[in-house]
């Protein structure tokens, strides 16, 4: 990969340069805007030609690892192949050109895709209603907890303001609870990775609004007592929220609705292969059981006869409202639609099966090479955890060191230090689109790094050595904040 340092775009800038083919022809100046409201100084944007711009950003892209170029086993992120057709079909000119406020008469094709996506998502999750409105997983979480709260308030039960969260949960879960005006109540997980039922029984009561869970859990194992958990929480009057981050493990094999969940959010950018894009856009569609139907965020696509239309506040007067400026991440939803149509019912189950096969194979072979799995007696779901605490203690080589050294071997590191519960952990999720050869190459690399850790630990601790940069000074980044480039005159 590219390792040459690339200047900042501003450093290519020269006064008078520009990509003039992209500009409108010079019009009359806007003389009727009052002086007091006009900009006096040109904004600090680069003045560069089109080739320079294309070359610069192309070279920048070459500094990245990506699914298209590297095995990317980030646990909890589901870095599966993003089919090119999803992108090209979502970017058909008519779909791209459609204004969000265009009338339904000029959008039946788009709305048909959205409606069918809602229906397919209902089917794979076992939920009764779906809203495509939330724009990311965390956004979907917010919608889910807000709906739970709205449900209790509508019943006049205003005391329910506690959300139970297992201590292994993703950080967005307690943050979401706080955003909804609730209190996050953490409960422990037992040594086998299941929620501790005794603690759960003690934690539920008249203040319980609900519990936020993911299954399989963030520990990479299936919550075996899920039906009992559902009984306990429901009996106490609370609702069950499913964090869909790990849906890939059970797609086509188990449905959250069947497990007793009342509301779920899905991460379309994980399970349904929409692009991660260097940090977004995601899409966090939510699904609900019958009792939460009235509260779904709008807009939702409805069908009357053979015509599609948007359902709004008038149709759902108890809706928690709209969460986005328009209808959500439409283009992302189109990509998910194309992906799901290409999978079909047969493909859905294959996803769950092969994601699980790949994870279990990887775990078993890494264990055979001497690595410690956090839950060695459990089946892996679509992901599993290795702990490097022995290496950290005996060799002073940490999970972070392994992660950085893997980069030199041409693999993106797995997720590190999440969940917080397992010390020195690597959370590894291969996904179903990786071949056996890729997994074998990864296993070999891990074994070699272990050998290096034993024989020349300094080399591992100093990794990466072959990337565009070595390890970066995070402390300096936070203390000496340099967040925007400034021209020399301003330094």
């Amino acid at each position: 990969m590219q390792t040459r340092h690339e200047k900042l775009i501003f450093e290519y800038s020269r006064p008078g340069r520009g990509s003039t083919d992209q500009w409108p022809h010079a019009p009359a100046k806007a003389v009727d805007i009052p002086e007091a409201l006009r900009r006096k100084k040109k904004p600090l944007l680069p003045e560069v030609g089109e080739l320079e711009t294309v070359r610069h950003y192309t070279r920048l892209s070459q500094l990245n690892f990506s699914i298209d170029t590297h095995f990317y086993p980030l646990g909890s992120c589901t870095m599966k192949y993003n089919p090119k057709a999803c992108n090209s079909l979502a970017m058909l000119p008519e779909f791209l050109a459609r204004h969000p406020l265009a009338p339904e008469s000029h959008g039946q094709g788009f709305l048909a895709c959205m409606f069918e996506l809602q229906e397919m998502l209902k089917e794979v999750t076992g939920m009764r209603g779906v809203s495509l409105n939330p724009m990311a997983g965390a956004h979907g979480e917010f919608a889910g907890v807000a709906m739970i709260r709205a449900y209790h308030r509508a019943r006049g039960d205003l005391a329910r303001n506690e959300i139970i969260v297992p201590e292994a949960a993703h950080g967005t879960n307690p943050a979401t609870a706080t955003m909804c005006g609730c209190i996050a109540k953490e409960i422990p997980v037992n040594a086998d990775g299941d929620v501790d039922l005794e603690s759960l029984r003690a934690a539920v009561g008249p203040h319980t609004a609900g519990i936020m869970l993911t299954n399989p859990s963030t520990l990479g194992v299936f919550e075996r007592n899920i039906e009992e958990v559902a009984r306990i929480v429901h009996a106490a009057g609370g609702l069950l929220y499913y964090d869909g981050a790990n849906l890939n493990a059970i797609l086509g094999k188990v449905r959250p609705g069947d497990m007793g969940f009342d509301v779920i959010h899905m991460n379309l950018h994980k399970t349904f292969s929409t692009p991660h894009g260097g940090g977004g856009p995601g899409a966090g569609a939510v699904g609900v059981s019958p009792r939460l139907l009235p509260f779904m965020p709008i807009p939702i696509v409805g069908k009357e006869g053979d015509k599609y239309r948007w359902l709004s506040e008038n149709d759902l007067p108890q809706s928690i409202g709209r969460l986005s400026g328009f209808m959500g991440n439409a283009g992302v939803l189109l990509r998910a639609y194309v992906y799901m149509r290409m999978l079909g019912r047969e493909g859905m189950s294959q996803v769950g099966e092969f994601a699980t096969l790949n994870a279990n194979y990887l775990m078993k072979r890494l264990q055979a090479k001497g690595f410690d799995a956090a839950y060695p007696k459990r089946r892996a779901s679509h992901e599993f955890i290795l702990t490097m605490k022995r290496q950290a203690r005996e060799l002073e080589v940490t999970a972070m060191d392994f992660a950085k050294r893997l980069l030199d071997y041409g693999f993106h590191a797995p997720t590190t230090y999440f969940p917080l519960l397992v010390p020195e952990c690597l959370l590894i999720e291969p996904t179903e689109t990786e071949s056996k050869e890729t997994l074998d190459a990864f296993i070999d690399a891990m074994a070699r790094i272990q050998a290096e850790a034993e024989q020349e630990p300094e080399h591992v601790k100093g990794a990466p050595h072959t990337m565009p940069v070595r390890r970066l000074d995070d402390v300096r980044a936070a203390k000496q904040l340099d967040l925007t480039w400034k021209p020399i005159a301003q330094h």
Binding site: D474, V475, A478, K479
Partner: protein, 131 residues
């Protein structure tokens, strides 16, 4: 092993308290706390004159790994925040009981210090947390 000076008082949330000759107290975070946080990058101290209650979050210490609230061990009125920490938050790492002090306050009740842990009790607490 973290340092636990014997002449100070301590809280469960890893603050230390030192009685000053004029009756006011000086407060900071312990060696154990600074070690757990790692290199500090930013510190926010309370404004002078602010009245605080025991257990109220009054300051924030931020490292690359974590941002933690600092709780006032006792009730009182803030008389000073350490002005050196804005430019040099690392003083808390290098000298947590000296130059890395966070704030000073006048206690509402002079007797409230006796409620706090002594060095031996704090040391036990830290051992239990697996220092």
């Amino acid at each position: 092993m973290s340092k636990v000076p014997s002449d100070l008082k301590y809280t469960k949330t890893h603050e230390w308290v030192k009685k000053l000759p004029d009756g006011s107290v000086e407060i900071g975070i312990t060696d154990h706390a600074q070690h757990a946080l790692g290199d500090l990058v930013f510190v926010e101290v309370p404004e002078t004159g602010r009245t605080v209650t025991a257990g109220e979050p009054v300051a924030v210490v931020e490292s690359v790994k974590a941002a933690s609230d600092v709780y006032s061990p006792i009730a009182g009125v803030i008389t000073a925040g350490n002005p050196d920490l804005a430019a040099a938050p690392e003083l808390i790492n290098s000298d947590p009981y000296g130059a890395g002090w966070l704030m000073r306050l006048t206690p509402a009740d002079a007797g409230s210090l006796t409620q706090l842990m002594d060095a031996a009790a704090y040391e036990t607490l830290v051992q239990a947390e697996g220092d």
